[in-house]
């Protein structure tokens, strides 16, 4: 199955987000322009209404003026004045409504001039009639009035037309602007739905794969658990069941050695002693192998410990051998090490008893332990962080040494450099040492000179 990469998933989601964002922007713009066009329509209608109502008021004023001229009733004058006030109000409102439009303002000025003219004319007629109740207005004067009214009508129509034209123009451009929007919106919606469906499939496929992997992993973990349990039962078998018959062999052999030894032939005595030694050796092997296999499973936290404290402990554990061979153990350098206490104690015990085992009997055995702090780049070990600090612990002796050719092999399980029966051992001690160093994420090297010395250098993270 092909898997979506992290990058592909990112691209899909960025793409979907961009589409959704543009969708929202376009919808917003569209709604905005719809609002604008309805506002414009509204504006145009109001302007139209105002214009019409001004014109009709002027006509009202005109008829009131005529009413006075005919009847001389003062009520007409009052009516006339309030109509004029009304006209002034509407003029002001129109001024405000057209404030955003220069040409309409010009038109309005022209309209206002005409209105002014008409009002002045009407006032003059009224004034003359008031002064002389019998006055007959000449026909020419009425003709002038009519001409002004015609002008007014024309100017009003002009303005209404212009307003309507403007509205058409604006709506047209808006329609042009928004004509594409529905199509675009729909395609965007379809696109984003498609992307959603695609990503649903992609992600569910991804989930399926990861579920498969997860169950695979769980199966493997189960198998691993099972294997671990088998290993544990093997450990138990070797620790208990294998040791049981061995212990019997040892016990019965020693039983004979203890009580029947005198009755045996000298050959039998030798064979029995050898049998006992072999049994003891096998026991040591089982014990060490067990210790080695346990090291893999038990991981403890590290703690900062005084090295002198551990050295003293180890010395008291090995007190008998140290005393017997008159071994001198010296310690120098830094005080503390960062270690898993029980394991490091084992490590040091193995190294020191190794030194004692391979002592040169012609001289006093001297074991020197030194502890130094070094930087990773001084150790020459590739895996170490060059900037970090490491404890460099050296354990060196003046024993029989070894050929440096074997300096790697001595850490392998069951590798023994000496066939001489004088140097008995299981061949696991140094393998345990190496394992412990690895448990500390450290590194160990060995160096030696035949007949002179052996040196073990341990680097541990400090």
């Amino acid at each position: 199955m092909e898997r979506l990469s992290q990058f592909q998933i990112k691209v899909i989601f960025i793409f979907a987000s961009v589409i959704l964002i543009s969708l929202s922007v376009f919808s917003y713009l569209r709604i905005n322009s719809l609002l604008k066009s309805s506002e414009m329509l509204n504006h145009t209608n109001i302007v139209k209404l105002e214009l019409e109502s001004i014109f009709s008021r002027i006509k009202d004023a005109d008829s009131e003026q005529r009413g006075y001229v005919l009847t001389k009733d003062l009520a007409y004058i009052n009516q006339f004045n309030s109509t004029i006030r009304e006209i002034r109000k509407r003029q002001k409102r129109l001024e405000m409504l057209t404030s955003d439009n220069y040409s309409q303002q010009k038109n309005l000025e022209a309209l206002n001039v005409l209105i002014e003219k008409r009002i002045v004319h009407m006032n003059a007629v009224l004034k003359d009639v008031k002064a002389d109740q019998t006055l007959k207005i000449k026909k020419e004067r009425w003709l002038v009035a009519r001409a002004i009214m015609t002008g007014l009508r024309q100017q009003t129509d002009k303005m209404v037309n212009e307003e309507q034209f403007l509205m058409k123009l604006r709506t047209k451009s808006l329609v042009k602007e928004t004509a594409l929007t529905p199509l675009f919106t729909i395609s965007l919606i379809i696109g984003s739905i498609l992307i959603l469906i695609l990503s649903y499939y992609g992600i569910s496929k991804e989930l399926k794969i990861s579920n498969t992997l997860k169950s695979d992993l769980e199966n493997k973990n189960e198998t691993l658990d099972l294997m671990n349990k088998e290993l544990e039962s093997f450990t138990y078998i070797s620790s208990h069941d294998l040791q049981e018959p061995l212990r019997k062999i040892q016990t019965f052999v020693t039983r004979i050695i203890d009580s029947e030894f005198e009755n045996l032939s000298s050959n039998s005595k030798t064979y029995l002693i050898k049998t006992n030694e072999s049994a003891n050796r096998m026991q040591a092997l089982i014990r060490d192998l067990l210790a080695y296999s346990r090291l893999k499973t038990e991981i403890f936290p590290v703690q900062i410990t005084n090295l002198r404290f551990i050295v003293e402990e180890v010395k008291s554990t090995l007190e008998e051998e140290i005393h017997e061979k008159n071994v001198q153990v010296s310690l120098s350098g830094e005080k503390n090490v960062k270690i898993i206490l029980s394991q490091f104690r084992q490590l040091l015990t193995n190294l020191i008893s190794n030194s004692i085992k391979f002592a040169d009997d012609s001289r006093q055995l001297q074991i020197s332990i030194d502890n130094k702090l070094v930087k990773g780049n001084e150790t020459g070990i590739k895996n170490f962080n060059p900037e970090s600090s490491y404890s460099k612990i050296t354990v060196s002796d003046n024993g029989i040494g070894f050929d440096p050719e074997y300096k790697d092999r001595i850490f392998e399980v069951f590798q023994r450099l000496h066939n001489d029966m004088n140097y008995k051992g299981t061949g696991i001690g140094l393998a345990i040492v190496k394992k412990i160093v690895e448990n500390h994420n450290g590194f160990i090297t060995a160096d030696g000179k035949i007949g002179e010395s052996a040196t073990f250098t341990i680097y541990l993270p400090a």
Binding site: Q243, R247, I257
Partner: protein
């Protein structure tokens, strides 16, 4: 060396007949002139039956193996410690195992001492002699954990 005068009855429960023979021979050799009364049973069920039959008087000490058929050592300790008639009898674990978890478990169950079966006959004798040299008071009290395991090697 002789038996302390109070030790007359010793129980040994172990399904391994070789170990039973070795134990009784070692005891015989250690104290040839004493009439030690060693009662050997081969599993926990038989131990409980023997206790029912012979107590009182209660044995001075029970040597108890852990890994046995029918009723194992742990069950025996629990049962003995929960029975008023037996609960003060000293129990010494006599097992092949040296596993720390198992030692801890027997200590928690209330065993008095723990012996890991020795690898040689002389050592076996030495260990039995050492344990039987304890006086009654020392034997019946549970020591501190670091003195719990008797190791003569």
């Amino acid at each position: 060396m002789s038996f302390q005068s109070y030790i007359k009855n010793i129980f040994l429960t172990d399904d391994d007949s070789d170990d039973c023979v070795l134990f009784s021979e070692a005891l015989q050799e250690l104290f040839p002139n004493e009439k030690a009364n060693l009662t050997i049973t081969n599993d926990g069920v038989k131990l409980m039956e023997a206790l029912k039959e012979k107590v009182p008087p209660a044995p001075e000490v029970i040597f108890l193996d852990l890994n046995m058929p029918r009723k194992n050592g742990f069950e025996c300790i629990a049962e003995i410690r929960n029975t008023p008639k037996y609960k003060n009898i000293p129990i010494i674990i006599f097992s092949t195992s040296s596993n720390n978890d198992i030692v801890d478990k027997t200590y928690a169950h209330g065993a008095n001492y723990y012996i890991c079966k020795p690898q040689s006959y002389p050592l076996l004798k030495k260990t039995i002699a050492f344990v039987l040299s304890f006086d009654l008071k020392k034997l019946s009290q549970q020591p501190l954990r670091d003195k719990f395991v008797i190791n003569m090697a």
